[in-house]
């Protein structure tokens, strides 16, 4: 029995999950600024999102629509009238020193999400889904760790300030027993797939567009629930599971010693797989919420909400079954993909235009390998199904060969942009220009006169060595079949 299993044999866990999702709207929550990820710092800003004196917010209707669609997909009740509220606290990456959020009047309440763990369905109840604005990003310079301690100064990037953020809060999840960690991971996975299906966010945990806080507590059977800790910024699916395991083990030890669990915020370390104390949850923190007077109440027209409900895509579980059937995948094949955590990305890649076999091969092959090397799930790699589909298309149209395709995906994973950008920047396209190729062929023939003679003498298979030389000289960018044909033509030998 592992320490985790031991802990949950002794104590009952209660979980709570708060997930922040950056919406993929073209403009910010309260102004017209762009939301592109990775732009030069402070280039996507204006008086409104910089909180300049006098500037006023205007609600992004698309963000409200996305939030309502999320609420509907989670079976929530949608408010007929609600207000934004100001959450007041000082922080340099928050331009107004208050965050425009929602407090006691969220847009969506009382929903649920069913997740499957070990073939059994677990219902996770949703307390609320609300809309708010993201903060900027602070970069601490001069310290060794990039954290505030020891830093000589800090830089703030407000590009992220004002990006619409949806917060999805579960009710306490009790009764999971030893499956607690698996339920947490399954919930976040299912939520991510649901959001991706709604096309409201790119849900990239590694880029922070989906961030998770995990609340954990333990109690003995029959006793009241224990004190919870909040583990912040758990930024991968694997980490969700590890964070729960680590916190369960730690709290069990504390309780066994007869001590109390301190209510606090804890940080999860990807490196150690353990949590460490952050700031003690400050009871004095008083956000002085009050209704945002610069905005008018949001009152979604019931007819509009009904139309949004009618237009919702099928939930991920249903869509999975449909696609698996459409593609003629065997149950075994589908199960293999589920086990590898790639079914949804494979299906998304197919939806983006790739043949099923190609999509499957990439995700179970080269990409699974890369994921393994970096310790993340394949679906968490910084490459989208659409990008994989584009690479597949580039191979199909002859621009890339298999080796180049892998290099292009490596470029995308390294953050060099879209596949076409990588092809252009790295100069990776297959050399089909026979003039340029001709020079390489002539050079190879001149360098290996003995091999050339052998081929002329009838040992056609010896041409392979010459092909290899040309491929090396062109750094793999030539099409091997073309090279072979060119060589044989020069040597006057019939292929």
């Amino acid at each position: 029995m592992t320490a985790y299993e031991q802990a949950l044999a002794e104590f009952a866990p209660v979980l709570g999950l708060e997930t922040h999702v950056e919406l993929g709207t073209a403009s910010k929550m309260f102004c017209g600024c762009a939301t592109t990820f990775g732009a030069e710092p402070n280039t996507q800003v204006c008086p409104v999102c910089l909180g300049l004196p006098g500037a006023l917010p205007v609600v992004n209707e698309k963000a409200v629509e996305s939030t309502i669609r999320i609420g509907l997909a989670l079976h929530c009740t949608i408010a007929t009238w609600c207000r934004f509220a100001r959450k007041n606290y000082f922080y340099p990456d928050m331009p107004k020193n208050f965050q425009t959020s929602q407090y006691d009047e969220p847009l969506c309440v009382d929903g649920h999400l069913d997740v499957e763990v070990d073939g059994e369905v677990v219902r996770v109840e949703i307390e609320r889904v609300h809309l708010e604005e993201d903060t900027g990003k602070t970069l601490h310079v001069g310290g060794a760790t990039g954290r505030i301690t020891g830093a000589s100064h800090s830089l703030v990037d407000y590009n992220r300030a004002g990006i619409p953020l949806v917060e999805i809060v579960t009710r306490p999840v009790a009764g999971t027993g030893v499956r607690a960690a698996a339920v947490a991971k399954a919930y976040v996975t299912e939520l991510r797939d649901l959001l991706r299906g709604l096309d409201v966010s790119d849900v990239r945990m590694e880029q922070g567009s989906m961030r998770c806080d995990v609340n954990t507590s333990l109690h003995r059977a029959g006793e009241p629930w224990g004190t919870r800790t909040e583990t912040k910024n758990v930024n991968s699916l694997r980490s969700v599971e590890r964070a729960v395991r680590s916190e369960v083990e730690r709290q069990a030890e504390v309780l066994r010693r007869g001590e109390r669990v301190v209510q606090e915020t804890r940080h999860f370390s990807e490196a150690t797989g353990a949590t460490s104390p952050g700031r003690v949850k400050d009871d004095a923190a008083d956000y002085r919420y009050f209704p945002e007077p610069d905005l008018v109440p949001v009152a979604p027209d019931p007819a509009w909400v009904a139309a949004l409900r009618a237009a919702l895509p099928a939930p991920p579980s249903v869509r999975r079954k449909q696609l698996v059937a459409q593609l003629g995948l065997s149950d075994l094949d589908a199960q293999a993909m589920v086990n590898a955590g790639v079914l949804d990305v494979v299906l998304a890649t197919v939806e983006a235009g790739a043949p099923a076999a190609e999509a499957r091969n990439w995700w179970l092959g080269a990409l699974a390998q890369r994921a393994n090397e970096t310790g993340v799930e394949p679906a968490e790699l910084p490459v989208t199904p659409a990008q994989v589909a584009r690479v597949v298309a580039l191979v199909a149209e002859g621009t890339l060969n298999a080796g180049l395709a892998r290099q292009v995906l490596d470029g995308v994973l390294a953050g060099e942009g879209e596949p076409d950008d990588v092809v252009a920047a790295r100069g990776l396209a297959v050399v089909s220009d026979t003039g340029a190729l001709g020079e390489a062929v002539d050079a190879a023939l001149a360098a290996h006169p003995d091999v050339a003679d052998k081929v002329r003498g009838g040992k056609v298979q010896a041409v392979g060595a010459l092909v290899g030389a040309v491929m090396r000289a062109t750094r793999g960018q030539a099409d091997a079949a073309t090279v072979r044909a060119l060589l044989l033509e020069r040597l006057g030998v019939e292929g």
């Binding site: 004196p53 006098g54 205007v58 609600v59 008083d286 002085r288």
Partner: protein, 488 residues
Amino acid sequence: MTDLTRLTAAETAAAVASREVSAVEVAQAHLDRIAAVDDRVHAFLHVDAEGALAQAARVDAGELTGPLAGVPLALKDVLCTEGVPTTAGSRILEGWRPPYDATVTARLRAAGVVVLGKTNMDEFAMGSSTEHSAYGPTHNPWDLDRIPGGSGGGSAAAVAAYEAPLAIGTDTGGSIRQPSAVTGTVGVKPTYGGVSRYGLIAFSSSLDQAGPVARTVLDAALLHEAIGGHDPRDSTSIAAPVPPVVEAARQADVRGLRVGVVRELTGDGYEPGVQARFDEAVQALVELGATVTAVSCPHFVHALPAYYLIAPSEASSNLARFDAVRYGLRVGDDGERGLEEVMALTRAQGFGPEVKRRIVLGTYALSSGYYDAYYGQAQKVRTLITRDFTAAFAEADVLVSPTTPGVAFPLGAKLSDPLAMYRQDLATIPSNLYGGPAMSVPAGLSDGLPVGLQVMAPVQRDDLLYRVGAALEAARPFAPTPLQWETA
């Protein structure tokens, strides 16, 4: 040659349009006037001679036309002007040049109005005397030893001292109307949402409203139309068109209009001279064909305390952004002190005592455990006051009261007694809490100092104010500012 600074805005616009005089000449005449008297009045914090003359030249070149093209204006320093200093009367914004124009500023520019400069005000519009400006007080042109009202004392004084025929003020609890009353000018707080707040440095978001200050009712109406109307950048801006205020000012007709005198806003607490001028003005309205009734608004007595919870609460949040990080003053950033300390030092030195008082008050009122008793309760009072207005408007088309309890008081007289200062706004605050429009028009003099009559109308019936104001103006012409100090 006529003194161009004595013309009304309507006369100036007509003279410029007919090329009788150039906009540049008009602008120069006012810049000269400012140079001659503003060392004593101190209405302006910043004079933008270059910008004013350039704008006037564009009018003369025919690039900008309209009913106010070529008319000079003084802009309260709480409205953002691109590239031109904007301080809100505070040390914390000293030297800040906004990178954008407020919607009001942009509309003025597009209308060919010539912005002469930025006017003095109580810091962040908190005050009733302009003595809370970080840059020194403004003096009342009727008597330089007296206050010009506040917070928009600079705008009202500039108009009364003939430094500009028009000015823009902002009114959160009376900051346009009270200065107008004590300087003998016309000041209007439009319906909340009638004029865009985009670019207006917020004091209390749910109460702030920009509006016109002028020497005639028609001029105020012309300015009201120029700045009013829907703005997609202000969510609280009203979509419907501006009520026909210019037409109403030209009609100047109160026949058959039902005028309600608010019982709770007369009598005790009002100086006898103020009460006497008010009674005479009401009598004049009767003679002009209006009917007068007494109405009761029982919850108005709670308006002042409710206001002093709501406005500081919103202000405590609105003013949080002044933190030394992105703009304005930064104190103590010596490479040793941490961020929090620099923020605290900056706010300690950058804000004056009245602003600090209100931030503390508002922070307290919003605190958990106190919210319901203070902010929540104040919002309930606000609802009751709105109901009082609704009930009163069933009996009367407009309501009237003296604008202020007294005439301009001597500089320094109430500085050490905040509550006495706050009581200046007793009669003006209810309209802010309700959201309806209100005007102060000159109603004569008491001991040689101006008295204002306040007219209040239902939401989006700003036109009614102008009918009453213009009728009174026609029947009892406003006294010009005597300016004895100029010749003394």
